[in-house]
Amino acid sequence: MVQTEAFVMLSAVLFVLGMMGVLLRRNAILVFMSVELMLNAANLALVAFARQWNQLEGHLFVFFVMTVAAAEVAVGLALIVAIFRTKQSINIDELHQMEG
């Protein structure tokens, strides 16, 4: 049986990769996909611990996270489409109309 530490380490690596994507990429859709990567990394850690402690609540929480991620993607992409209609650009450096 593969150790739980290995899975949590892999989850941490994926999370950091997603984090770098959020910080470094300028395309809004790429940022969004990096956020999905981070959520997946968290899900992987949850399932690893659920197996470790033989509790199904970990799986249930992953179920809820997936559902919320799906809802978030729907609304976020709708936002991006709406922004693109007005500004013709989804470069996040140019989306700063809400600045003070």
Binding site: E5, L10, L17, L24, N54, T67, A69
Partner: protein, 432 residues
Amino acid sequence: MTEVILFIAVGVIAIAAAVLMLLSENAVHSALFLIVNFACVAFFYLMLNAPFLAMIQIAVYAGAIMVLFLFVIMLLGAEKLGESTRQFRWLAPLALALSAAFLLIVGVAIVQGQIDLRGPVTREPLLRVVHAVEDAGPVDVYANGERVAANVSFGDASAFEPVLPGEYTISLTQPGTETVIANSAATVLASSEGDSATAFTAIASGDAGAPVINVIPNNIESVEARSARVTVYNAYNGLDAVNLVDFASPNDLNDDRVVISDLPAGETVVLPLLPEDTSVNGWAFVDAANAENVLFRMDNPEVYSIARDTSQLLILGGEQVISGADTLVRPVVIPLVTKAVSSFGGPQSIGQLLFTRYMLPFQLIALLLLAAMIGAIVLTHKESAVPRRRDVRRVVSKPLAAAIGAQTGTDVLAATPVEDTPQLPENQPAGD
């Protein structure tokens, strides 16, 4: 060993896909690399005993969310959008440095955190006791001195109790007193690795003079859909061996089928999975030596039936019957039906948890999804771009207008009303 190799291989693929997703210039390529990453994560879920989540991951993440991403990328033509230079030049090195530091700290915490000291928790073995001793009244059941069940009468079984793994001596006593009726040999009840639930049934049989307690492992794990697992135990000491015969129809002797042959006393046989509602009406236990000697017919459909998703234990025992001045021992079959335990991580066990204890979060998230759907519709709604009739001016070609004006003597263009509502005939040109 193969597990470790698989883990390393799929892990490398997952990390490589994530890195390529970040570095790719084309947004469509990034989305496809992310799908590869999600598929690797689904494989990890399978390795972690989460088959339901693996399928949901493929269906929801790779199948719905990434498809939505690809739709939007194609809609916006985002794959053609290049990356402009960043506002702050120092952002990239700083982000890399911070990410590396974060990873280092988390790595140290994981390795030093001693997560696995407790080891994987396995399910405790379950134990129940069946009272099939011929002439004893209700008994109390003790396992290693601790009472497991009280007042178990003949033909009944105590409920499955989880016990710590170890060596146990099961004993039956008279209820309320310390008099021990029967003792079993010390048996080791071991828990099992992983998720399977091991169950043991201790069957007390024989007669009050020489009782015997036999502990058999009982498989109560989930069965295939709509079938049942039947285990047969012979606790009848009157004969050497018995057969279990299926007399399909009572008159025709040719369709008799021997289901189990030569089952000695004290032995167990597990039958292959039976689909639900298999008729056991014609089943009977007969003497192995003498096929005419029918011990017991299971022709009461209310007592003996095969239900779906159950694990059944049939015990052929002897019941003491007092008729007149004699005490006879009459063979009887005791059915013990338990619902098969659903496997860890499978849809049944997730459903059992989700729709009972976690119903409220489930409904709240459903509401959230509805709200998200409405939000997405509202955000992407466009006002329809139909041009209004008020803005359309009647266009008249100038040369034609000039020719008509020369013929009629008036300036047609100036006299033509601009609004499309008909004017009152005040300034009508001469000649229509």
